[in-house]
């Protein structure tokens, strides 16, 4: 991949909207034992998966600027898939640590999500998003690959 900063942000947000949110909804329903329809938006168990994923996305939007600096050291100004894979997991681990250590208690006021609460959720979102980067996005957006991950016309 050869993303631009705007491209990273676009791609991150669009994958969040199109893959992250629907998958999180399923996990949130699962966390509330599929008992409620319409869903109980007010229950922390329902809300926290959304908060957790949002925290990763916000962290990612900031880290994207750092990634762009790393790219400048590459002659090809590229971002190998392996890096994408690795840093995605790093982002998860950072947010998980922040939750575990209580830094985010102001968000997770009722309880701190556990490893088991988050790892399957994140793994699912991550796997689907990564597959989208490998080709799924291009099927719908042919200009995306020439725009460093930005959406829209060339």
């Amino acid at each position: 991949m050869t993303p631009t900063l705007i491209g990273r942000w676009h791609t991150r947000l669009i994958l969040f909207a199109l893959i992250g949110l629907p998958v999180t909804l399923l996990f949130a329903l699962h966390a509330t034992n599929w008992d409620y329809w319409p869903p109980r938006y007010d229950l922390p168990a329902f809300q926290y998966p959304f908060y957790f994923l949002t925290a990763i996305v916000l962290l990612g939007l900031v880290l994207d600027m750092a990634y762009m600096q790393i790219q400048r050291f590459h002659w090809d100004q590229d971002w190998p898939f392996a890096y994408q894979f690795f840093f995605s997991i790093v982002e998860y681990l950072i947010v998980y640590y922040a939750v575990w250590d209580g830094w985010l208690d102001f968000i997770f006021t009722e309880f701190r999500p556990t490893w088991n609460d988050t790892v399957y959720h994140f793994s699912t979102v991550f796997t689907l998003s990564f597959l989208a980067l490998l080709g799924g996005v291009q099927i719908f957006f042919i200009r995306w690959r020439f725009k460093g991950g930005e959406f829209g016309r060339l």
Binding site: W75, D76, Q77, D78, I142, K147, L154
Partner: protein, 666 residues
């Protein structure tokens, strides 16, 4: 009446001329003793005879190996009419009665004493599309006086009764650039009936010329080319890439090695060696997509000889149909029937590389030793050299350090498996030292060559560098391109190992220096290097010399383009430095690859490939670059509301992708 014969190599503007007085017979051929001496391996020693009888000029082929062609047809004995092209090997000859040879010649800058290699001269079949541009003196040559103007009146064209077709979309070239454009048009919704392709490959293959250059430069079908997995000219989405296709095929055949390709794509280029597809797989993918989009129905076999704007906001393309059916004694009428016009609203020009240059010292050697086949350009057919090395052993000298040199070194390494007495001398002009620097990065150097997975930094195709170049002013573009450019080869483990092995075992040796002279001494080629630091002269003795310095994209060596530049005062891109480099710059194009100087009201013209080099996009001469150019120009057509071109949003895209997957026409 005396006649003046002038000649040039296919694609080149430089050539020679001579005046023949009397009745002859005059001799044409490779030997220097001929009246018309044409130095090239494809020309027989005594190739053809010329007889003058009053106003009549007759050509008699002397059972030459590669034949003599008049106006595209192989002849044994035929009348040569003024204005007809006579083709002998890579040379195009024409003549005129000397009374008409006037002042025009005095300031004709084209005819100089340099001769160029013919990267694109087909070995067989009709010669390439590039041939002398229409004359501006109203001679009898097609398309004749009707083209002596910037805007051609439709009525004048109709009067010729030569308008064969009128279409919305037409592409000139018929190569991979044309193919990508047509593929996009088709997938965006345009029917085959609205598109025409004019090209010179008798087999209609979009990869005919590219494949020939691959084979000549020693890339057989099973070898891998320097291109990425997602650079898929048969698939506008770039998915699935060649790596996943190769993976699936290998796994289905029970070969787990296929997993390697996915891992390559995953880690490239930082952790793993970049994936590159096999030439044969690329050929096959072209064939499949060509069938799917109806390529053959749109194809017209012909040489485009001129393009003009029309007075109804379109373009007229003059071309001469090529046919293998036509007999040697074709009448003027029959010949005239093969000369046609096509009128199109939107045109696309992608004629590719006009020629390959020889290094000047090699060129002068070849002129002095016309019979020597031991000095070749790597893009010429030269398999004979490796066969000879395998049989008899010997020393081969390679000039240049790019990707072609790497491949030739590999070929020599393969030949050494047959014959261990082969040695390789690698001559480069100067040591590389440190790699290019840009921003915070520096290009790596290994074995004295700069290494880079592809021919530009990767972000030039669709990343930060693409964006930056597009936004830059012409001056900035020249600076950026100079920073990213340069001769590079790929960091391939097998190539690195060959160099290490050869250096260790002593059969591979690098020399650095400028060439003072090349001489033939008792059957060997002796290259003398300019002495440096008052040291003794260094002589490199070899049996063969292969020039691997590559293809040169001199736009004005494509007569069709040169004529367009002259006629419409088309501006060129800025190449950076002045002088010789400027001739490598392409036509100035907009970000959409439209040629602004050719806009004719609603009629629009686009360029792709080297025709647009050094403009808003660096990697124009690559699969992905050609796809990018096609996408930009077809998007522009959609914005202009050109007939049948959709905006191609996500749903149409996914639907068309599904059609591609099942192989159904768009």
């Amino acid at each position: 009446m005396p006649i003046e014969i002038s000649w040039r190599r296919t694609g080149a503007t430089a050539g020679g001329r001579t005046v023949l007085t009397g009745n002859g017979p005059f001799r044409m051929g490779r030997s220097s003793g001929n009246d018309v001496a044409l130095d090239h391996p494809q020309v027989s020693r005594f190739h053809a005879e010329v007889r003058l009888d009053g106003g009549r000029v007759t050509i008699i082929d002397q059972k030459s190996q590669n034949g003599t062609l008049i106006a595209g047809n192989r002849i044994t004995s035929a009348q040569w009419r003024e204005g007809d092209d006579l083709a002998i090997g890579p040379f195009i000859l024409e003549y005129r009665q000397t009374r008409t040879a006037g002042a025009r010649d005095a300031n004709d800058p084209d005819l100089q004493a340099t001769v160029l290699g013919q990267a694109d001269a087909p070995r067989d079949g009709p010669r390439d599309a590039r041939q002398p541009a229409p004359r501006d003196d109203g001679s009898s040559r097609f398309p004749g006086p009707v083209f002596n103007t910037r805007i051609v009146a439709l009525r004048d064209l109709q009067a010729t009764q030569k308008i064969a077709e009128e279409v919305d979309y037409l592409t000139v070239g018929g190569g991979i650039g044309s193919f990508c454009w047509v593929d996009h048009l088709r997938v965006f919704g345009v029917p085959t009936s609205a598109i025409r392709v004019i090209g010179v490959a008798p087999d209609r293959k979009p990869y005919a010329k590219w494949g020939r250059l691959c084979r000549n430069s020693q890339i057989p079908d099973t070898e891998r080319i320097r291109s990425n997995s997602i650079s898929t000219p048969d698939n506008i989405w770039g998915f699935p890439g060649y790596a996943s296709r190769e993976f699936v095929r290998d796994i289905l055949n029970g070969r787990l090695v296929g997993l390697k390709y996915l891992l390559q794509v995953f880690g490239e280029p930082a952790i793993t060696e970049s994936y590159t597809p096999r030439t044969g797989d690329v050929y096959r993918s072209f064939d499949t997509e060509a069938t799917r989009i109806g390529w053959d129905q749109m194809w017209r076999l012909g040489q485009v000889v001129g393009i003009r704007k029309t007075d109804d906001e379109r373009f007229v393309i003059a071309y001469r149909m090529l046919s293998t059916q036509v007999g040697a004694n074709e009448t003027a009428d029959e010949r005239s029937q093969r000369e046609r016009f096509i009128i199109a609203r939107h045109i696309h020009i992608s004629t590719g590389y006009p020629a390959s240059n020889y290094l000047p010292d090699l060129q002068s050697f070849r002129q002095k030793h016309p019979n020597s086949h031991a000095v070749v350009n790597a893009y010429e057919e030269h398999d004979e050299i490796y066969r000879s090395l395998e049989q008899k052993g010997g020393t081969i000298l390679i000039r240049g350090r790019g990707i072609v040199a790497s491949r030739v070194i590999q070929r020599v390494w393969e030949a050494r498996k047959v014959n261990k007495s082969i040695r390789l001398l690698h001559l480069v002009r100067a040591p590389v030292g440190a790699g290019h620097k840009y921003d915070l990065a520096q290009r790596t150097v290994r074995s004295d060559v700069e290494q880079q997975p592809f021919n530009w930094p990767k972000a030039c195709w669709g990343g930060t560098l693409r964006k930056q170049l597009e936004a830059a002013t012409p001056e900035e573009r020249a600076r950026l391109l100079a920073a990213w450019d340069g001769t590079t080869t790929a960091d391939r483990d097998d190539w690195n190992q060959i160099i290490e092995e050869g250096t260790r075992d002593g059969w591979y040796k690098v020399s650095v220096g400028n060439v003072a002279a090349i001489a033939e001494k008792s059957g060997k080629l002796v290259t003398r290097l300019e002495s440096r630091d008052r040291q003794e002269n260094v002589d490199l003795t070899a049996d063969f010399i292969v020039d691997c310095t590559g293809l040169i994209a001199r736009l004005d060596e494509t007569p069709l383009i040169a004529d367009l530049i002259r006629t419409y005062d088309l501006p060129r891109n800025r190449a950076g430095a002045t002088g010789s480099e400027q001739s490598l710059a392409g036509l100035a194009v907009a970000n959409s690859f439209e040629i602004p100087g050719l806009q004719n009201g609603r009629g629009r013209a686009f360029a792709a490939g080297v025709v647009a080099s050094r403009g808003p996009y660096a990697a124009v001469d690559s699969f992905l670059g050609l796809q990018y150019a096609a996408l930009r120009s077809v998007d522009q057509l959609a914005a202009l509301k050109a007939p049948s071109v959709s905006r191609f949003g996500p749903f149409r895209s996914a639907y068309q992708w599904a059609k591609w997957c099942v192989g159904s026409p768009p």
